[in-house]
Structure formats: C-alpha cells, structure tokens
Subunit: 356 residues, 3 copies
C-alpha cells in the first residue's frame, strides 16, 4: 500500500503519470464519473482548511465516491487525548482512503505507519503540503506545456513559505530551471535551500525588486505573507504589503508568463489583475481538484494497494527532537526515531529537524 506524505514520494515517472491522468480527466470527465463509486474518502482535518478540504471532497464526489470526516479538531477524539495513529486505525474501518490535515509536523507519517488504508498528507504543520505542489506542477504543465527549462520567480515570503520550499524541492528533479528569488531581507530563502539549488545545478539570483525582475520570467509564483508565521505583529506589519502585483507590473511581463498563487490572497495581487489571461491562480484551484482526482484514483488502484509501502524508516533514538511542533513532542509514549541525511546530519524521522 502506498501513501502520499511528500511530493518526492512519487518518482518523476509516477508524477508524469498523475499529470497525464489529470489532463485526461479534464478532457473526458464523464469517463471517470463512476470510477470510485462505492468507495469512501475520510477527510480528517485536525485544523480548518476549507479550500483544501472542499477540493478533496469535490474530487471524490466527481469520481462517484462519497465523503465523511471532520473539519476541526474540536469535534474529533483528539480532544479526548487520542493519538493520531489510533484515530486512523479506527477510521480505516470507515473509509477506503484518508486525506489528513494536522497542525503538528510529522503527524501524517505517524498516521501512515499504523493506517489500514492509504494516507494523503493534506498538510502537517509547516512540514509538507504535497497536494498543493501537485496543483502547482499541473498548472505549470497545462499553461506552459513543460516542467523543464523555466525561469521561475518566487515572490514574497521565501523564509516561512511552505509552498515555496515544497515547489523548489519538487522542481529540483527537472532540467534547466533557474530562479529569481524576490523577497525583503527579512524573508530571504533559507541557506540550506539555496545550497540544495546549487547542488542540483539550478542557478538563482536574489533581489528585492519585483518590478525589475518580472520581465524575464516564465512563471511568477506569488505568496501571501502569513501573520501566523511571525514572531511578532510588528515584524509582520513591516513586510506584509511589501509586494503588490498590479496591472502596471504585468505590462512588463512576457505574453507567455503565468502568475500562480496558492491562495487565499489578501492584498498581494490587485483584483484587476484577475482579468489578465496570464493570471492562472483561479485555474490553479481547478488543477488542484484534478490532481487530487488523479491521486485518489491512483492510490486506490490494485497496483498501488498491493505495492510495498515506501514510508521513510529510521532507527530508534534516545535523542529528543527540539522542534516543539514535532509529533514526537506532542503525543505521549511516542517512539522516537531518527535517520541520517545525505550530508551526514542526524534528523528526526517525523519532522526532519536536525537532532543535536
């Protein structure tokens, strides 16, 4: 049985297959209208995320399946102190596949280790959110016809922006990608991510100006500066409106350039940009549904159900993870495990933070 916890759980080939399936669904939806009839998706949202939840529910319903679940932890057994692995073992008796959103990092892996059905990580804290990245990749592929040889501008919060790190991570596997990293000083891309770019042979430049860099881009990926990620309200206010994409700026961009945004947006894209055909962010939400449909089909197929799990494994460790948001620090009696990354650092198996 296969799960999806991180985009890179999928090989490049598997990812292309998903994309082609999603594009076939877009072209011939009726063919799939009963593909999962009789099957049930459980949407276990331990924190609210309407857009993601509705996208999963729409995806399942369009495949002829049905949906059950919850949209907030307040109405879940977690409130009674149940651990996430017990919850999924129980729900494995109620559903054929589970999409899980959880505020704690590593919760999806902890769940998948015990689940009787495939787990899709619909976001585990600041750690991973692979189905958002699948939406981004399908959007680039449908809008520009390729996933390689692209100049991608990443704009806004490159420090805390989970979607940005996840997109970069996924794009490392494609040839001829270069980046323009547009952010204020306080929100620059972390050093270790830049190192990853260099190691993968992707070149990048850093800048603080959106105006000056937009002209050369194939893709402009805008992000929302998220209040919740900041240490203080002041720190947030200083940078919140540092970038606003306007029609004036759009005039400097190529006719083939595309604007992506994970949404919701607040002020970072002026509303009149919505009417520009290069604004792809609403189509991006449609693509998110299509990729989730492809994913639900794939993970519930006999081939994937009978395939060996590809979950990351590690060794028991006595070292304590110092990430307070890690699942190992949020459930009692948790068995701590670690793994050693390519560059020799011992990391927590669940949240991937380095262990001292």
């Amino acid at each position: 049985m296969r799960h999806l916890l991180d985009v890179c759980d999928l090989s490049v080939e598997e990812l292309y297959k998903l994309i082609y399936t999603a594009e076939d669904i877009a072209a011939h939806g009726d063919k799939y209208a009963h593909a999962l009839s009789g099957k049930k998706l459980a949407t276990l949202f331990f924190e609210p995320s309407t857009r993601t939840r509705l996208s999963f529910e729409a995806a399942m319903l369009e495949l002829g399946g049905s949906v059950l679940g919850f949209s907030e932890a307040s109405s879940s057994s977690a409130a009674k102190g149940e651990c996430v692995s017990d919850t999924v073992r129980v729900v494995s008796n109620y559903a054929d596949i589970i999409a899980m959103r959880h505020p704690i990092e590593g919760a999806a892996l902890a769940a998948a280790e015990k689940s009787g059905v495939p787990i899709i990580n619909a976001g585990d804290g600041g750690h991973c959110h692979p189905t958002q990245t699948l939406a981004d990749l399908l959007t680039i592929h449908r809008e520009l016809g390729r996933l390689d040889n692209l100049k991608i501008g990443l704009c806004g919060d490159l420090l805390y922006g989970r979607t940005v790190h996840s997109l970069i991570n996924a794009m490392l596997r494609y040839k001829g990608i270069s980046y323009v990293l547009i952010s204020p000083e306080e929100l620059k891309l972390p050093a270790y991510t830049k190192r990853a770019l260099t190691e993968a042979g992707a070149d990048y430049i850093e800048t603080t100006s959106l105006e000056d860099s937009v002209a050369s881009l194939d893709v402009l990926y805008m992000t929302r500066v998220q209040r919740e990620r900041f240490p203080s309200v002041e720190a947030y206010k200083r940078v919140k409106d540092c970038y606003v994409l306007t029609c004036d700026i759009m005039q400097r961009a190529k006719a083939t350039m595309r604007v992506l945004h994970p949404l919701p947006r607040v002020n970072e894209i002026a509303k009149d940009v919505d009417d520009d055909p290069r604004a792809a962010y609403f189509r991006q939400t449609l693509n998110g549904k299509l990729m989730r449909m492809a994913l639900l089909l794939t993970l519930t197929s006999d081939e994937y159900l009978s395939a060996p799990a590809t979950l990351p494994t590690g060794e028991r460790t006595d070292k304590v993870c110092h990430n307070s948001k890690c699942i190992t620090n949020n459930e009692n009696g948790f068995v701590r495990k670690s793994t050693v990354s390519a560059d020799g650092v011992e990391k927590c198996l669940y949240c991937e933070h380095a262990l001292q």
Copy 2:
C-alpha cells in the same frame, strides 16, 4: 446564468412555475430522484443556520445530487482574510451551484458578480432571505389554493423581522391582499414599508391585540422576537413574550385559517397548538425543502444557465455607505456602487441603504 438573491428576481410567472414544480415534486417525488445526479451543491454558510442548510442539503440529495461545504466561517478561508468573491470563484471549480449564507449585507450580490456558477442567497445578514419567503408562498398556495384575495395577519416583531418584510415585498405583486399588523408599539412596521403597501393598493390596519383580530384572518404569520436584533437586553425583555398563540385564541379563528411561522419558535406558539390541523408551520418546513428542490432544478437547467444574468447594476460612487454591516465596509478595496430608486433616493447597490 441566473442567480436568486431576492424573491423579486423572479417574475410572477417564474414564481408560479416554481410553485407548480414544487407541487409536482410533492406528488411524484420518484420522477425527480435522479434529476441532478452527478451535480454538486456547495453550501457556504459563513454563519450557522442549521435548518436552512439541512433543507438545502436534503433538497439536493433528493434530486440525486451531492453536497459539500461548510457550516461556520471559523472553518472557512474568510478567517484568513479572503474576500467572498474569491471564495466563490474558487468554489465555482468545485460545485455546480452555491447556496450561501453570510452575516454581511450585500455579500450575496458581491459573490454573484464573480461567481462561475449560480448563487442562491440563503440569507445575507438582515438584508434578504428569499428561500424562506418561497417556503411561505408555497405554504399559502398549498394550504389555501391561492396567492391573492387574502387577509394576512402579521404578528410579533414587524420592525426587525426580515421574513415579514420579505413576505410583504413578495405579496405586493398579488391582488386583493389586506393586512392586519399586530405588534407592540416598539415593534411596529417601518413607515417606508407601510408606504409601499399603500402605493401597491394594499390596505392594512395596525393593532396591538391578537385576540381581537384573529377572527377575520386567512393567514396568521407569527414571528419570533429575536434577541440579537435589539439594542439592549431590557428592550428585548420588555416585548419578548408579548404574544403567545394559544388554543383559546385559535378557537376564535376561522376553520380555514392557517398559522405560519418561520421557526424556530420559542414561546410565541403554545405547544398544544401543534395538534391543531390549522397549524401549518411544520408543513412549512417541508414546503421549504420542496421549493429549494424546484429552485435547484430551475437554476441548473440549460434554459436558466444560458439566460443573461439579471443582477442589479449601478454606477461607481465615492459616497460611503453608512451601514456598518454592508459588504462595502467589510472587505478592503471594495468598489462602491450606487443605484437610484424609483422615489429618487441614491442607494447602496449592495445593501440598499440610502446614501447621504
């Protein structure tokens, strides 16, 4: 594409068509059991309203369709500062039709202006709640066989009662309607509504006594005095139990008279009245479901999807709407628009409050 924001968006003919469709569904439900199979309704409830939400969901399910959505804003992207028009543009990718409830006046119009699918206004603050009025009209038609030549008693909160204003507004289009307005001094029908009655040639009398006026009525429309609408708890307490319909009072009424109530009721109708065949308020909730079924069928029909939108339009204005609950004052960067009513008053396009 057509939307339903206000009952009067429907012509008298269209309204009769809806009523006949609802009555046909009541008689031959099986005929409609798969009418919308494969279609999805999104119930976007930015504030809770169980009865209305469940009625919409039951309606869609009985037509063979399916449902997704949320029942509180806390679990919606609005919490992240997304504007309602972005939300519906996204949800337009997930559903074929949207029923939206929102605490802010004009939110339904703001949504419909950008939506890719039909919007049904399931209540926008104190502004409109057309599907409740559709339930009232079908109930009168099914119980009394006509929508004209009726003596209608409106009892309770005629000042703040949204359902009362909406029912009067809808009935203005029918002949031979007269009103008995039964309320305490503090809760009398607003002057502008009385003016509308006069202009439409409907006569009315005002009274404070239910006992003395019940004998002549064809319809008695009871309302709940709603705590939330009052400036102070004292003001509320003074009038909350001013009218209680009892079996004694019912003895004075005609055998053909019918009692309606939008529900939920608190104390304004004694429970033993429930067993009186003239008590139509529980059947009224069934009629609400039937009209919502008719409405879902109609708005998703090719004829209505291909029809031009009939949304109210207006001119950009720099005047600020002084209604603090208006959408124009609750979303940033909102384009203010106004329209001039028949009597020459410039009104906010969204909440219809007069602009100074």
Copy 3:
C-alpha cells in the same frame, strides 16, 4: 414505528437477528451496497462525538444511502432556544431516520415522542448509549461464538462508566455470566447495579488487582477514566492511571481471552498490546459500524416502520426531577412524567432518576 433508545428496547430474539444480519453484512457486503439507496440519515450531534458520528455515516454510505446533519450544537437551532422535539419534527421532513447525540439525559425519548421518523439514541448524556453496547455484543459474539457462559472482567471506572453499566444491563438477559469487577475503591460498581446482578443470578467478585484476576477471564473490558465525570481534578488524578494493561499482564491471560475497549484509549492499554491477536478493540470499531448498518436496515424496514412504537410511557406528575441534567429541567414548558419501577420506586420517565 420503532426507535432505539436503550439496548433493552430490543428483545433477545431481535438482538440475535441484528447480530446475524451484521455477520451476514460482514461476509457479503456487496449484497447490501444499495439496500438503502435514496434514503437519508440525519446525524444530529448536539455534542461532538467523532467516532460515533463517523461510524453512523460510514454505515449509511455503505448501504447506498446518504447523510446530512451537524456535529456540534453551536451550529444548530438549539442555540436559538429551540426544543429538541421541534428540531426532530423539522428534520423528519429532511431525513428517513435520525441518529441523535445530546448532552442532556432523556433528550432521545423527548425527541422520539414527536419524531416522524425512527430515532436512534447515539448517546443522551450519562443515560444511555445503546449502539456502543451493540458493538460490544457483536464483538463478543464474533470473537468467542457465544453471549452466554462467559467470565467477564470489567476494569477501571465502574462507577461513572456508562458503557460498563449498559453492557451489564444487556448481559443480564444471558445465562451463565459471571463478573470480575476490577476497580479502585473510589470507582466501584454502584450498589444498585450489584443488586441487579444478584437478582439476575449472575455472580461477581470485586477486586482491586488486574494482575491477579486476568488469568480466568474470557473477556477483559477495559475503560478509560474520564476527566469530565469527576468532581475535582485531584479526584481524577488520584485514579487516572490506576490500571495499565501491558504485554506482561497479557501473558497471564488465556489464549482465547479477548480485550475490549470502547475507545478512545489514553494510557490504560500499552501500545505494544495492539499487536496481540487477543486485542479486539480495533475490530470492535468495525463491529460498531456493522451493527449500525444492521440497525439502519432494520428500523427502516416496512416491518419495523409499521410496528407500534415501544416507547416507555408514564403518568403526568407534579414532582420535579432533581437531576439537573435531565431534559425536564433543560427545556421550558416541559410536561413532566413519571413511571414506577419493579421495585416500587417512582422514577422520572426521561432520565430514570428516582423522584422524591
């Protein structure tokens, strides 16, 4: 029309029929995949209980039916002061059967008295929770092949534990049952329950030691010590971790013994016990879904819909029930009724507390 408010609403024969139906569903699920298509279940959860709600929803979906409802009172009309009997009269127009969870004791009976469709009590405060007991009974039957001649250990909170009292109550009707009551002094089984055991000819012993008593058991029913049931946090802390079932203790038990637990568990069962084939508590949740499927099928069958209701009836009384959590003390204008039990005590019809 029949309802299920208490396990003992079902005769021993009816209960066996449910069990055989559930076992047939387990063996031939496909046969039932469309059994309730076109039917609707309303899950009215006035307090959250995810596991129970999801189990009901999964049950209905696997029978081809659909589901609507709410998971918290905050999003229900109760917030507006509506009484539960009005709510179910309205929902009777939206659904074919109702599963209701309510924090107030006797709410399920108050609802059933007015409902137009069958009511399943999914828990009314500390009073009854029959579908949990149905899950327990099916689990014993599937795991051990019988419901009689069993030695049952009940461990943990035997004072407040609703599931324990309900299981004992149901087992009183079977022959050759003996009990080992394992609890700390503070949480011993109430005297009246012990009296019931004696009257039914079931023998029992009381002990504080799990280790010493596990060897002879056929069934070990573990319970969670629930914070919410205790007068003070201290009282709770004193006993919360008094029993922890470990692999060491399991070594003393019979190869045929089975461990049950209503779940969620906190610390009372060590996680490594999960891998022991005698650990039946996750299978128990599957059995809960199967019994709910059997129950939905049965209560919506023509035979049961046309059968006379078997609701407990009583006489009007002026005596006030002194249980502050009783429905008679939580809804205004409630008609109080009482009934006289076998031992001559006058009890509240709704919460079954003795009236002074």
